[in-house]
Symmetry: C2
Subunit: 298 residues, 2 copies
Amino acid sequence: MLAYLGPQGTFTEQAARGLAKPDDDLTPYDTVPAALDAVRRGDVDAACVPVENSVEGAVPATMDALASGDPLVAVGEIVLPVRFSILVRPGSTGSVKTVTSHPHALAQVRSWLAKNLPEAQVVPSSSTAAGARAVLAGEFDAAVSAPVAVHHYPLEELATGVNDVEDAKTRFLLVERPGTLPAPTGSDRTSVVVTAADRIGALSELLAELALRRINLTRIESRPTKGRLGEYRFYIDLDGHVAEPAVGDALAALHRHCPETRFLGSYPRAEAGVGKTDDSGFEAAAQWLTKIRTGNGA
Amino acid sequence: MLAYLGPQGTFTEQAARGLAKPDDDLTPYDTVPAALDAVRRGDVDAACVPVENSVEGAVPATMDALASGDPLVAVGEIVLPVRFSILVRPGSTGSVKTVTSHPHALAQVRSWLAKNLPEAQVVPSSSTAAGARAVLAGEFDAAVSAPVAVHHYPLEELATGVNDVEDAKTRFLLVERPGTLPAPTGSDRTSVVVTAADRIGALSELLAELALRRINLTRIESRPTKGRLGEYRFYIDLDGHVAEPAVGDALAALHRHCPETRFLGSYPRAEAGVGKTDDSGFEAAAQWLTKIRTGNGA
């Protein structure tokens, strides 16, 4: 059983299908916290939630819901290009007088609509899938939807790839209760959220711990901690797997520095990274330390 | 003349009114880039744009539009609590059967609606102001709006402060063409966007330059640079004014490290910060350096 941010027929369902095992049942939930709580309660095995979009930015609902409550860890990620299609009722040959979708989607196809359907009235809906349903019900002529919507609604594509920005992408995480970690693949990402003291240089010290171990940071975002003024949470993504010596040693260092440290998972990267962190030296150094501590070397 | 992200009757207009001079004309623009381009062209003197929301996160449209194009600098900021009102037609005493607003606003009053108007049908609109206009036109019974909307539409408040999260806030910037900077007040913020090389430790070095000068970081956010794979922009807010020795010295250091550095302004903080950066030592050090370089000291 796999939860995802619903409704059916959206990009998150498309991502969930990409991350699911062949026999997984997919269940839509109304909100990101609801989907994650279903995993925490054990109602489902995993949840697929959006975490970052190249046009809209980070998804604070996901970041906040992962940072609090019972811990969950990401075991996989998928990056989907944001592609929109224009869906109409099958056999509909008349002109398109009305177009509906979620305001975010409408904003991302504004130029295409102005060029190709300049006369059409644009009407907002509560989600891209709700727009598709309204077209099916005959309320509007066309909907701007994720391509996956055609799996749920008997609609036809009038056009596809109608988004104004061509390289927009959304990243999704597959999240489970803590358990066996995915094995390192040599191209992994590790996510962690830490609370830093409200002190000059606190973040600089944390990042120095990563840099000194030659660990590549791929994303950092600060969010105010709710309720505690002036205290920040930092969401950090880095290249490598916690099973690797350099990453493990760095996470231990973050734990020493930070009042709160929460591991959000190590999982295969969807896109190629810079490759494996250089761990040479860590094992030799540990052996040397053991020797000098036991009087067997110097 | 002051541009703002429209339409009329939204939080951004409310922020613009708070930042405007008494005789400023306020003009709404459809998008953040359109408002900023109006400043660049000289059509208006300044623009008020949202930059950060405690619930929704950063506003990527604003960050991206400030990072490219002709440079603009912030000269002021304002932080507004996100408060929503329920607006109805004056004298309307019947029950509320339909409620409309932008999906973001509807999401932020979900609990209030479930408790107080459980029977009402919820219908999305393209903006909170569009929802207010639809109520005025008699299409729906109630709109979820910014309190400022009652200045534009002859509607009445059925309830106010209906937002589920009480401490949600949005930060807005007042942006102008580069010119005379606002004078330091002792409680200022400086914003800068830098491009860091795609190299391990690059960000750590930048933040060390701030920490070594005892400069307090108040926000950091990474965004991928469009078109150049693996290169990141970092949006950094810090306490202090560029006219102060420590901050000026730190910005010069960032300029040495980074392929691109863009100053986004020094302006009075809306909320109290940690106070003035400690500049003691900078002047004495400069005098000492001059002396030893000229053979007058050691």
